[in-house]
C-alpha cells in the first residue's frame, strides 16, 4: 500500500488510483470517489482531480463523515487535486 506521509506540493502522497472528476459538478466528484473507493482496500490512497471549486468544502466534509483521511488538497491552476486515504 502507498506511503502517506509527505503532503506538501513538492511531495504529494503516492496514489494507488487516480480519479479524473474534472468537468463534473458536485456532488458527482464525491459520488465517483465513493464508487472508486469501494474497490480499494482500507488504507489505500485515491487521488481525485476536480474542477468544481465545491471540492474545497465537500471533500473534507465527506472524508470526515465517512472516516477517511484527507491527506492533502491542493489547487492546480483552475483545478484541484485531493488525496484520500480510505478508512477502515
Amino acid at each position: 500500500m502507498a506511503d502517506s506521509a509527505p503532503n506538501s506540493a513538492d511531495h504529494p502522497p503516492q496514489a494507488d488510483q487516480t480519479l479524473d472528476a474534472r468537468r463534473l459538478l458536485c456532488p458527482l466528484p464525491i459520488l465517483r470517489a465513493e464508487q472508486s473507493l469501494r474497490s480499494l482496500p482500507p488504507g489505500a490512497i485515491l487521488a481525485i482531480l476536480a474542477s468544481d471549486p465545491g471540492i474545497q468544502q465537500d471533500l473534507p466534509a465527506w472524508c470526515q463523515i465517512n472516516g477517511h483521511a484527507l491527506l492533502a488538497l491542493q489547487p492546480q491552476g483552475r483545478e484541484w487535486i485531493g488525496w484520500v486515504k480510505k478508512g477502515g
Binding site: L25, C26, P27, L28, E34, D52, G54, Q56, Q57, D58
Partner: protein, 350 residues
C-alpha cells in the same frame, strides 16, 4: 423489526436545508440512531450556479448542503445517484407538473420509494423527512401526504417530525419507538417556528431558506428544457444536456440549431468542456465569449454563429473579427463582421 434490543434507527431524506436538519435532530435527541440519504437527480441547484460562474470577490467556495448538514449533525450520509432513473420522472410524470417542469409529487414518491429500499438494505426501522404541512404547494399539501406514502408503499412508516402532531400517528409512534409528545406541529409557509427551533438546538449554519433546491422549479431553466424537447420532437435528455442548460445565454436562431454563449471566464471554461459533438467558437486575439453550437448547422448558420461570437465579445465595434471554429478535432478560421444588436431578435433568446 420489533426487537427492542436493537437500537431504534431511522433513515431520513436530507436535502441539507434547515427543515431536514431539524427533523434529524428531533429524532437524534430522542436517542434514535439517525442516518440520512441524499439523492442526486442532476437538477439539484445546490452550488452549481456558483460553480459555473466567476466567484464574487471574497465569496466562500460553493458547498453541497446535505454533506455539510451531515457533517454538522455528525451522522452518516448515503449519497445516491438516481439521475438515470429520474429521467422518466421528468419526462413522463404520472401526476403532472407544477408551475414549471417540476414533477414534485412524482419526485417525492420516487425518492421515498428509493429511500425505503435503502432503509431495508440497511436494516433500519423507519423513514423520516423534514416536510412541513402546507409549506410547498404540491408535495406538502395535507391531502397529498397520505397519497405519497401509499403510492410509495410505505404507509404508516414515514414519520414527519416537524409536523407529526398535526398528522395521524405513524407506526414508530404507535410502537413507542418515538415519543410523539416531543414532535412538532409546524404548518404553513412561515419559517419562524423552524428558525426558533434551530436557535434552541444550537443550529446556526444552515442554508438560506429562500432558494429552491431544484432547477425544474425555475421558470428560465424549464423554458430551456422545453425548447430542447421541442427541437428534438421528443422528451429526452442526457446529463450533458441538463448541465449545459445551467450555463450561458441560450439563443435559437433556427429550429435546427442553437447557440450557448459564455458570460464570464469560468463559464467559458465550463462550456469548453462540452465541445465534443458540438462546434466551439471563440474570437482570435480579442477577449470574448466561448460560443457552443448545438444541432445541425450548415455553413451559413456557422457564419451567423461567428458573427454572434464577435457581437458578444470586445470586438463588437470592429469591422472584422477573426473567429476560430473547432469541431471534430479540426479547426478553421473565419473572418466576419460582428452582428449588430438590432439583428438579434428577442425571439432568439430562450
Amino acid at each position: 423489526m420489533d426487537n427492542h434490543h436493537t437500537p431504534i434507527s431511522a433513515l431520513g431524506l436530507l436535502s441539507g436545508g434547515l427543515d431536514s436538519m431539524l427533523a434529524a435532530r428531533l429524532l437524534m435527541d430522542q436517542g434514535i440512531h439517525v442516518e440520512c440519504v441524499n439523492f442526486h437527480t442532476g437538477f439539484c441547484i445546490q452550488s452549481h450556479t456558483s460553480a459555473i460562474r466567476n466567484p464574487e470577490p471574497g465569496a466562500k467556495p460553493p458547498r453541497h448542503d446535505a454533506l455539510h448538514a451531515a457533517q454538522l449533525l455528525g451522522i452518516k450520509l448515503h449519497m445516491v445517484d438516481i439521475a438515470e432513473d429520474y429521467v422518466r420522472i421528468v419526462t413522463d410524470p404520472k401526476h403532472g407538473y407544477g408551475s414549471n417542469l417540476n414533477p414534485c409529487l412524482d419526485c417525492k414518491i420516487f425518492m421515498v420509494r428509493k429511500a425505503w429500499q435503502l432503509k431495508e438494505e440497511l436494516g433500519m426501522h423507519f423513514l423520516f423527512t423534514g416536510e412541513v404541512l402546507g409549506q410547498r404547494p404540491m408535495s406538502q399539501r395535507r391531502e397529498n401526504l397520505p397519497h405519497i406514502e401509499r403510492e410509495a408503499g410505505v404507509e404508516g412508516w414515514l414519520l414527519r417530525p416537524l409536523c407529526a402532531a398535526k398528522l395521524k400517528a405513524t407506526e414508530p409512534e404507535k410502537r413507542g419507538w418515538v415519543d410523539r409528545a416531543r414532535l412538532k406541529g409546524f404548518h404553513g409557509r412561515g419559517r419562524r417556528a423552524q428558525m426558533e427551533l434551530a436557535q434552541q438546538l444550537g443550529l446556526h449554519d444552515y442554508p438560506s431558506p429562500a432558494g429552491g433546491c431544484c432547477f425544474l422549479t425555475d421558470e428560465n431553466y424549464s423554458r430551456k428544457l422545453q425548447d430542447l424537447w421541442h427541437s428534438r420532437s421528443e422528451r429526452r435528455y442526457t446529463m450533458d444536456d441538463i448541465l449545459l442548460l445551467k450555463a450561458g445565454r441560450h439563443l435559437r436562431p433556427a429550429a435546427h440549431f442553437k447557440v450557448i454563449i459564455g458570460r464570464d471566464e469560468t463559464e467559458n471554461n465550463f462550456l469548453s468542456g462540452f465541445r465534443e459533438q458540438r462546434w466551439l467558437l471563440q474570437a482570435q486575439g480579442i477577449p470574448g465569449p466561448v460560443l457552443l453550437v448545438e444541432g445541425t448547422p450548415n455553413e451559413e448558420d456557422l457564419t451567423l454563429a461567428c458573427r454572434l461570437t464577435a457581437r458578444f465579445g470586445q470586438g463588437r465595434h470592429a469591422d472584422v473579427v477573426t473567429i476560430r471554429i473547432s469541431h471534430d478535432h479540426q479547426e478553421q478560421l473565419r473572418q466576419v463582421a460582428p452582428l449588430p444588436a438590432s439583428a438579434i431578435p428577442d425571439s432568439w433568446y430562450i
